[in-house]
Symmetry: C2
Subunit: 535 residues, 2 copies
């Protein structure tokens, strides 16, 4: 601030979102579809009032500024209220992923030093079983409708949000990393607000006061991609669902007139399948954001054929989470249909506020030529600098955070994830994308699932081993799979061996656990490895 004059001081605090929504969009609805099939309605004015009551209730329990307030809940209005209530009284909202394994749940609640847990009744058995492992948690509040209402009924809404610096933390979310302990990303008021401002812009989520948005992503998963922050900023209608089953979702889309949604390919796949079988529709849906993993081309085509815009997003817990989003670029009308599809099926382009680059093994920046692939690094105001309680920064000297992804940057501005850096197979100084190999393999008839890992090789450092789960009743042979692969990947990418397995290991969030596979196959040797050395 200059001594010569100044603009106003107005810290970017998260509670301004709900204040704005209460003042300007008070009667705009927040709808919940509960797990039991019932629908309840509230609005931004009531959410704000309830959040004030909860802030008082938390203070009454002795929760203080900076304390971690944990939630173990699906998407619903009480969970939303608890976000704003916890942050409003100066607490740090810690959204716990109920799908984590017990040892991870133990670790993160203790590492976070959670003092209170708000949980869904459906998770009561889990909570009971975990209680002995959670010594820091002094209070447990079930968000069952009656119990929750009774808790807040004891308070009035005469409360002023705790104020403070915009760099203060407001929320904590642990990554379900595949190696080591989960790491906590400590979101700040400022980072959250800047991310939200970016997210509502037309080339990202493009939300308006007329939008009806339904995030098909859990609120414990990188804050439901920020939708519960973006909705009150714009005054749009927010639809929350604790139930992702296709029929229930399709009915909700129709009944509530959902215009915008966001989710992972798996969920969309189920809904598309349901729609194809039943002849129903997605009603008012205009815009879909897909992220989490790569959207199949056929899925993108399916949406486009129905006049629904598709944006492919990429991000991670460490990026709040939006890193890229695939809005159409200038000159879009001149693209052929195939070019448009190519564009959309990559992982989107870079919005203002994000800096991306790819680097090689020696940290040298690689060209944006759509060919070079390297470790993807990111900078920006909503990107992690230091993990919660970490001893040192997660960024390099120039402030870059290494995402752990391997990607190409295309001349048209899009980014394309090709692999995770620890999964990429390093063969003779070049990189083989395990993901591309797997995608090509599952396209082969008779292959249900596939995983490619690098096996130590005396000449090439690593060579690919492909592990295949056959479809039920299939007798597909390694030779048939190799033939199929040969039509889709470079010859030197072809796996040195294909082994059949009954099943592949997965992480708590349903991803292939390459780490477990690498452990299982640590001693594996290719049948002809010795022979090859002599070549």
């Amino acid at each position: 601030m200059s001594a010569l004059g100044a603009m106003q001081d107005w810290p970017l605090r998260v509670m301004r979102l709900v204040d704005h929504a209460e003042r300007e969009h008070s009667s705009r609805e927040v709808v919940t579809a509960w797990a039991d099939g019932s629908i309840t309605r509230t609005n931004w004015g009531e959410i704000a009032g309830q959040a004030r009551r909860m802030a008082k209730a938390l203070e009454r329990l002795g929760i203080r500024r900076g304390d971690r307030v944990a939630t173990l809940a699906m998407n619903h209005a009480h969970h939303l209220t608890s976000w704003y209530g916890a942050i409003g009284m100066g607490g740090i909202l810690h959204t716990i992923n109920p799908r984590l394994f017990a040892d991870q749940l133990t670790y993160i609640a203790n590492h976070a030093e959670d003092r209170i847990l708000l949980y869904d009744k459906a998770f009561a058995p889990l909570v009971e079983s975990m209680k002995p492992s959670w010594p820091t948690i002094e209070h447990y509040v079930c968000m069952d409708d009656g119990e929750f209402a009774a808790w807040l009924a004891g308070e009035d809404d005469d409360y002023r949000w705790v104020d403070g610096d915009e760099r203060e933390p407001c929320a904590l979310c642990y990554t379900s990393g595949t190696t080591g302990h989960p790491k906590g990303v400590l979101y700040e008021h400022r980072s959250t607000m800047l991310h939200t401002l970016m997210e509502v812009t037309p080339d990202v989520f493009g939300l308006t006061a007329r939008s009806v948005v339904l995030p098909i992503v859990p609120m414990f998963h990188a804050n439901a991609w920020g939708v519960p922050w973006a909705a009150p900023m714009t005054g749009c209608k927010l639809v929350l669902s604790a139930d992702y089953r296709p029929q229930q979702m399709c009915e909700l889309f129709r009944d509530e007139g959902v215009t915008h949604s966001a989710g992972v390919p798996t969920i969309w796949m189920g809904m598309i399948d349901y729609i194809e079988r039943t002849g129903t529709s997605l009603s008012e849906l205009k815009s879909v954001t897909i992220g989490g993993s790569a959207a199949p081309r056929a899925m993108v085509e399916w949406f486009r054929a129905r006049g629904i815009n598709v944006g492919h997003a990429w991000g991670m817990t460490e990026t709040s989470p939006i890193g890229t989003c695939g809005a159409p670029p200038a000159g879009w009308e001149d693209f052929t249909d195939g070019e448009q599809l190519d564009y959309i099926t990559r992982q989107g382009r870079i919005p203002f506020g994000v800096e991306l680059r790819i680097v090689d093994d020696k940290d040298r920046e690689l060209p944006r030529d759509g060919v070079a692939t390297g470790r993807l690094q990111v900078r920006g105001p909503w990107v992690v600098k230091r993990y919660f309680k970490a001893e040192e920064d997660a960024t390099d000297a120039d402030g870059w955070f290494d995402t752990g992804d391997v990607a190409a940057l295309h001349p048209d501005g899009t980014m394309q994830i090709t692999d995770r850096s620890k999964d990429v197979i390093k063969s003779g100084g070049e990189w083989i994308s395990s993901i591309e190999l797997e995608n090509a393999a599952v396209g082969c008839p008779g292959v249900a699932e596939a995983a490619a890992i690098g096996i130590v090789h005396p000449k090439w450092d690593e060579r690919p081993l492909l592990l295949v789960v056959r479809s039920e009743g299939s007798n597909v042979t390694p030779a048939q799979i190799q033939d199929h692969l040969a039509g889709h990947v470079a010859k030197w990418w072809l796996p040195d061996a294909i082994e059949f397995v009954d099943e592949l290991p997965h992480t708590a969030t349903g991803k292939l656990s390459k780490k477990t596979l690498r452990e299982q196959f640590a001693g594996y040797r290719f049948p002809d490895a010795v022979a090859m050395v002599g070549r």
Copy 2:
């Protein structure tokens, strides 16, 4: 920032806009239509390179961080380059309005202590005449094509923008106030960036990378409403015109495929008139933002009939300038055509980041009932706190800035300006809107222009006097005008007298100068005032 963890440090600096545009939208065009009718094209990559050259050129002239770099120029690419060049080297961009009177020009350049002036060749005579009055200006650079290119040709683009805190000032713009000396609003990097993030959202300007935006508002007028910041943030195509004549503008809209524009009603009026006479069209135009003064209902209808969305904005130099913008609210489809028109012709609704309230003479907040009118006050991160070199803040103890406007806030969230607080006529404790009286009067056949001012009145404090310029050849009488007014305003609003004048005084920016009128009619007494006292 918490000691426990952190998101990245990433100050909101203006130069990130051009950096982003250079990286992600380098070849996206910036088009200039010059006053001589010629068209030139550059792009964001070249603008960034030229700005670096200019930063070096400014440093070579001895300009230092914090120095004021003034411009006296219409809208064109060189002016745009000078914005980013000046700010990039740490200077404070001071955009001077060439339409100001000589004594104002003298005052502001001296008050700003401008060290260098970049000016259009067309203003060379003005500059020559002003030079003796501008002792602080050491360097004059004409932005004529050849001279400008030659100046920058001496530099390379190996330059790193000056970095610093986001609360540092980046630009200075003086209000052409109607009383006292002009006041300087010192924009900060942060205020500018937050304003820009808000401006590109769908419910404000709604800009995307596919947009083609042409601001029909000068770059010296509250930074062309922020468009030159918003364009590089989104990567849209920017079309700048130094020529606002209707035919030239219409051709530019057509040739460049302009999709978004913003301007004052007067300019639109001229274009609409031209289009009606010639049968041309606005081509690709999809969205128009109108501000500066109230848009006539017929103008809004004209755009709507052509499928062009209209948003009415309100703001001022002190608000960067966007304070409100009239995007359709939730439930828009259920509005009747008349309700939609009513909504649009008010001055828009409140975007996130702006707080508005109306207060009475005792600073008590008034209800948002669409009936109460009061002094409009504003808070937010892009609202002035203290004018340049002022001794005290321009805000009250609670941080509110008094806009000098009188307004109503409607239950639907829209704001409606009814008058300027110093122009409102205070009669018997109630307020009469001078603007509404004037608008009603110019609707009377034979009235070319009208101004209403308050005249001291022994019983009612003030009563309205209406000053009328008759249309050419008109013989309209006071009684006819009173009859007309009686059909449009409350009976107690009817002026106590109507006087005919040959012309009305205007300010440098073309607004009615009520201040001059009040001086001219300071001794005026209503013909029957003495008689009325006895009533």
